[in-house]
Symmetry: C2
Subunit: 306 residues, 2 copies
């Protein structure tokens, strides 16, 4: 069960955090960008390759202290086929280094289409008995607006290939409440979705009492996370919004159970862009910056377990 | 304004329908598949190329009678970078033939990430003053679960590049009601979203009193479409679910205004898979089958305007 692997990696590394690999041109050190521009011209291919080299540096500098990475596919998708090549190479490299990969793809569609996303991202493509794994994420994020028949098509691949999901329940953005906080009869929409996700995962229960159908629960809403922890006792949380978006470690203890498990906290810019905000670091040692930021975060997150 | 172009193309061709280009191996004629397997082996590249050739045949046989096509990105994404190459080539070819392209991508994410989807799909990527259009859709579909700050990042590209959106309001799948039909205080969630979408588009109003922020409204729920037409007088509907999913033309008149405009009806398998269901056609003349199916649909849709 992939959720057990994730929990065991968190326990072993004593670090419930995931590094968001959300590269953008403004975050990539100049010497990497220029190297790629020289090789490929000022093209999407150059930018995409620079993202991979940037990610590789960050992974090399952090893989021994973090359990997982979360590439945000939009940053790669933006650059077309070259971007997807970079996304896939990043995933392969992270997995080689023993990291668990959460593909932040937030897909949503009707069943027959969801099946295509499922097979491509967490399944196996069979072309006349030739088998291909295309994206190779361990977990992917999905959006629940279409209901259970848009989520079910992922379950078989979760069972058969040891994969998992994180379903958007309460997101970290400022206007997440516009729909998610609506009262749907004695509870909010996000609480309703939370209850459903907790049920949906029951067939994928692991040995730590969490199942492989997790939930995205924003760090920017701690009191809401607290409610959700009660509604969803078996659901592991992926928590975005820590750091750059304003979420604080002190507020996150509500996401964890009495054994100190139950959640993984994401930081993206706070880790990969740390070298730009700290005089100790420069373009050349951006990866050392990422390591320091990851260690700082690990230390900070100890406040979650009081 | 792209919505005016879409409406004018519908009026000129007297056909409010869009052909869903959702290829899958089982739908591609054997001779096309085998040609690609011979060239590229039994690989994702071969399948992706067969999709492009299949689409090209369908576009060539129908572009003079239909206003638009709607490629479903999942079918391509499933095959990785090769799949995206096929998706992009399909879009380019459809646009060369004068068709409006609705990219069915149903993306959703927080603002900074939505901006990446927006720039990649309907914007312009600037790499040190070199400009690239990556996907080149005219419209894309998006999911509203994260609220307005996840939709706003698309508006500038809609304004500056003559592009549009279709926001999921009420989807066509059997369990769409699980969240969308919840009562959120005197109205359903989908009605709430519908009202919001109608507002969001007011800055992108075209000359036919419809704006470029459209809505996805499933054909499988006619009474709900009727309610939405009232709540969203300025919102153009993209209507999936006709044909294979069970939606009937008779029920769709509620989507149109008194001038016979206001909606475009999608059919995917019903058009591109028609040759497999009709003895008159074989693998060799699959495209003639698509044309006949498209003409049948055009005729059938006349029932929408009583």
């Amino acid at each position: 069960m992939i959720i057990d692997k994730l929990i065991e990696s968190i326990l072993k590394k004593e670090n419930p955090s995931v590094v968001g690999l959300d590269p953008r041109v403004s975050l990539v050190p100049k010497h990497i960008l220029n190297e790629c521009f020289e090789k490929y011209g000022k093209t999407p291919k150059a930018v995409a390759e620079s993202f991979y080299l940037f990610n590789k540096g960050i992974i090399d500098a952090t893989y021994d202290i973090i359990p997982a990475v979360k590439p945000q596919v939009a940053m790669y998708e933006m650059y077309g086929t070259d971007g997807f090549e970079s996304y896939i190479k990043t995933i392969e490299y992270a997995r080689e280094k023993g990291l668990i990969v959460i593909g932040d793809i937030k897909r949503s569609d009707i069943a027959s289409t969801a099946k295509a996303y499922s097979d491509g991202h967490i399944g196996i493509i069979d072309i006349e008995d030739n088998k291909y794994e295309i994206y190779k994420e361990d977990f992917i994020t999905v959006n629940p607006y279409l209901g259970i028949d848009s989520i079910e098509p992922y379950f078989d691949n979760c069972k058969n290939n040891e994969k998992g999901l994180f379903v958007l329940v309460k997101t970290s953005n400022p206007n997440s409440g516009q729909l998610q906080d609506l009262d749907v009869g004695g509870m909010t929409l996000y609480e309703k979705v939370g209850g459903l996700v907790n049920e949906w995962g029951q067939d994928l229960m692991g040995k730590y009492n969490y199942h492989s159908i997790g939930a995205v629960v924003g760090a920017t809403h701690p009191s809401q996370a607290e409610k959700l922890r009660k509604i969803m006792p078996n659901t592991f949380f992926l928590v975005p919004g820590y750091g750059a978006q304003g979420g604080k470690a002190e507020d996150l203890s509500v996401c964890f159970d009495k054994n100190g498990i139950g959640a993984i906290i994401n930081s993206s810019r706070g880790i990969i862009g740390y070298y730009q905000k700290n005089d100790k670091f420069s373009d050349e040692n951006f990866a050392d910056g990422a390591r320091e930021a990851a260690l700082n975060m690990k230390e900070d997150l100890k406040k979650c377990f009081k």
